[in-house]
Amino acid sequence: MPVLELRKITKVFPGVVANDRVSLTLERGEIVALLGENGAGKTTLMNVLFGLLPADSGEILVDGSVVKIKSPRHAIDLGIGMVHQHFMLIELLTVTENIVLGHEPAHFGVIDFATARAKVAELSKRYGLAVDPDARIMDLSVGAQQRVEILKALYQGARVLILDEPTAVLTPQEVRELFEVIDALVAEGLSVVFITHKLEEVLAVADRIVVVRDGTVVGETTPAETDDAGLACMMVGRDVVLRVEKGPSTCGGKVLEVDHLCVKDDRHLETVRSVTFSVCGGEIVAIAGVSGNGQTELIESIVGLRRPSGGSIQLKGEDITHASARRSIETGVSHIPEDRQRRGLILEFDIAENLVLGDHRHPPYARHGIMHRRAIGEGALKRVEDYDIRTPSVHVLASNLSGGNQQKVVVAREIGRGPELLVAAQPTRGLDVGSIEFVHRQILNERDAGKAVLLISLELEEVLSLADRIYVMFEGQLVHEFAAGEADADTLGYYMTGGGSKKFGVVSDDATNDDERTEGDE
């Protein structure tokens, strides 16, 4: 009998049916992939399974008996463990403290740290998940943190492990290592549900694939019976263009020139170490890299949100090294931030007020400090039309828009400003396929119009598809440059994990860095 079965699970939110009679079975020792694009309802389904949300109707069966899962604690007791997309780890605490939290070995309330560490070491060895029990989470790499999350689930006695978009933040090599871990877990008798929107991974690791679209199961298949085009078609319901078509690029003069730039992060560590590159008008330059290698600080210094500690940044000859965000915008830099809800939009403002953010001091929206509401409204109407933002009115609050439409507002604002340089950070994160296509089209239009585009993305597919030139960033340095067509995911992955720095003898003092990293890392 199946170890886990979901029968006709339905979950409704005001205005949207997230799950519509979804059924799923999981056998012991099986790896089932739950595939669907962003917004298909996969995470909602798993939240129901894990007790974070109550189902409106349907049943869940564990080992053949019906259960009502009322809370995560209940799910854990039933042997269901979940590794969330955004880790549930407490940065200030150590690996051991995080793993045993909630189930601490103790005598009369006093924690027995020795036993705790021993248990962690034992589990770590058994499943091949190397961690430093005393390291603090905040000092670990993302891959290491994920291992801690998996160990946490195992410590709590999981027999079913749910992995929600586990590869979003991993390099290709780390993804392969994760797959090995999954195989080891399954060999020990665990069952795995693997939630993702990435087709190649599903084909590589799953025993069975369940495809979800708009809240319902639209098909079930195995890797033997299908390929990525077939899966994409099931996922989206129509033929999907997997690669964007674009013409060759022509360099129309240097727009962005970054020279020996050095930037420190919030902890005063140098995360951008003497970076030099340039972007021409009419080309898309992408920087690929594992998150945390300095990309965020690099972008922040270019758009004026962080002061560099050395080097220079020039926009069409004008020095913007120490320019504030305001001056950067006024000089011609636009920024699509990676977190649209935190940095991109003010959710409690309406669409019109969000569309003028950054231009709210200038005509036609404002003169002498007084804002012209009518001009703002008219400008907003035009943008909504030009950028296909689905909304009944420009006075709808941004919080009421879908993720895709929210991103369209940000894109409309940043591109609509007519910048010389567009900096786009993770521009399609969390978006459905239709919105992704739209954003890619907008970026390409900018490039074709002769503007410079700097793209930072974790999605190698996106990078390979859009970029004219690709840099790989590792430990604060640009370790290699590729022209379009020269690289593939594996090569990029190699450089993203440091292959390039050693080979090309890049100047760095990461001899010591490497040592510190390896302790908590591999």
Partner: protein, 375 residues
């Protein structure tokens, strides 16, 4: 402090006001009901108490005048608190800024004796604004630069302000005589009583104009409310203020300086509290002494919250609390209920308004959750 701006069409303006007023209205009702319960449980005659309260606040033109008198500084401190709240700043130290504004008005008011009223009054008001803003400046900088919580810093500055005033009225600025107070300000600096603007014949024909001690400062307060409303809605300064209050990260990405906006917001808030102090000195006492403010700065918190931080809404909210204050004396006299019950009612109002935000917030969150969980 969220900006509950609903994106409705033009026709829903009246509905919007009704919606906005609905929940604060119930908050007040509940608070008054609970206050009555407390009174009754303590053995007081709640009915007689409220009758006396009404008499003392709205029963006669003079009582209405008393209400307006006490509402005047509350409108101003309420505005100050509201403006700060819009930027997500809690200027709990409005009382201290009020003191400094009043002090400045009392001191300068003595010195400018020769100027005519249309010069003296604006000068004193502006000076009080500067004093109030200056008193908020250090906490503002500390918040902007190192994130020091403005509740603690402005509170400390309030105690310091009170001690400074306490020293000055017995020391350097002391007027001759036994009472610790400053000299009387010049007549041109005094804000006249409203009823003094009319001739005795007019007052006889229209008795409702005999508003007792109510003074023209109320017009200054109302004008300030309109100005602040305009600022928040139609100026770049107001836009940036609201943006920083709602989402400082996004505001920063949009080129707004969070630090500068923070400093401006607290200083403007302090300036408004400063005007409150000046108006109290110029319209009521003519001088400053230790206890010249009966907690107007703190009551302003309740006023702002009740008005949901809307500058125009501050006016009726201030009148409510002004009425409570005006009627409290009568209540103590007639029904023997201690005036402190007013503080209890004030606290209850704040509770019910703060808790009430949950209802609208809960609905908004459910919509948002529906949208985001489908990502």
């Amino acid at each position: 402090m969220s900006d509950s701006k609903e994106g409705t069409s033009r026709g829903g303006f009246a509905l919007k006001i009704l919606k906005g007023v609905g929940t604060p209205f119930f908050a007040v009702l509940l608070a008054v009901a609970l206050g009555s319960l407390i009174m009754w449980l303590s053995g007081y005659d709640a009915v007689a108490a409220f009758r006396a309260l009404y008499l003392g606040s709205f029963g006669t033109p003079k009582a209405i005048g008393d209400t307006l008198l006490r509402s005047t500084p509350l409108i101003l401190t309420g505005l100050g608190l509201a403006y700060g709240f819009k930027a997500n700043l809690f200027n709990i130290g409005a009382e201290g800024q009020l003191f400094m504004g009043g002090l400045t008005a009392a001191w300068l008011g003595v010195l400018i004796g020769t100027l005519p009223w249309y010069a003296a009054v604006p000068i004193l008001i502006v000076a009080a604004m500067i004093a109030g803003a200056a008193w908020a400046f250090v906490p503002a900088i500390l918040k902007a630069k190192i994130g020091a919580h403005e509740v603690i810093t402005t509170m400390m500055f309030t105690y310091i302000a009170k001690y400074i005033v306490s020293w000055l009225v017995v020391g350097p600025l002391k007027a001759p005589g036994p009472i610790p107070q400053t000299n009387q300000i010049a007549p041109s600096a005094v804000l006249p009583r409203i009823q003094s603007l009319f001739s005795p014949e007019t007052l006889q024909s229209f008795p409702f104009l005999a508003l007792g001690r109510a003074h023209t400062g109320i017009f200054i307060a109302v004008i300030a409310a309109v100005v602040v409303w305009f600022m928040l809605k139609y100026t770049t300064l107001g836009y940036e203020n609201r943006a920083v209050g709602l989402n400082p990260s996004a505001a920063e990405t949009g080129g707004i300086s969070v630090a500068a906006t923070t400093v401006k917001a607290l200083c403007i808030s302090g300036a408004l509290a400063g005007i409150a102090g000046a108006v109290e000195v110029m319209g009521v006492h003519g001088r400053i002494f230790d206890q010249f403010s009966s907690g107007f700065g703190f009551t302003g918190i309740a006023v702002a919250l009740l008005a949901k931080n809307h500058p125009i809404g501050v006016i009726p909210a201030a009148i409510l609390f002004g009425a409570l204050s005006a009627g409290a004396g009568t209540m103590q006299l007639e029904a023997e209920v201690p005036q402190k019950i007013i503080l209890i009612i004030q606290a209850l109002v704040i509770f019910f308004v703060a808790a009430d935000e949950v209802f609208t917030w809960k609905v908004k969150r459910r919509q948002k959750e529906a949208v985001s969980s489908v990502q």
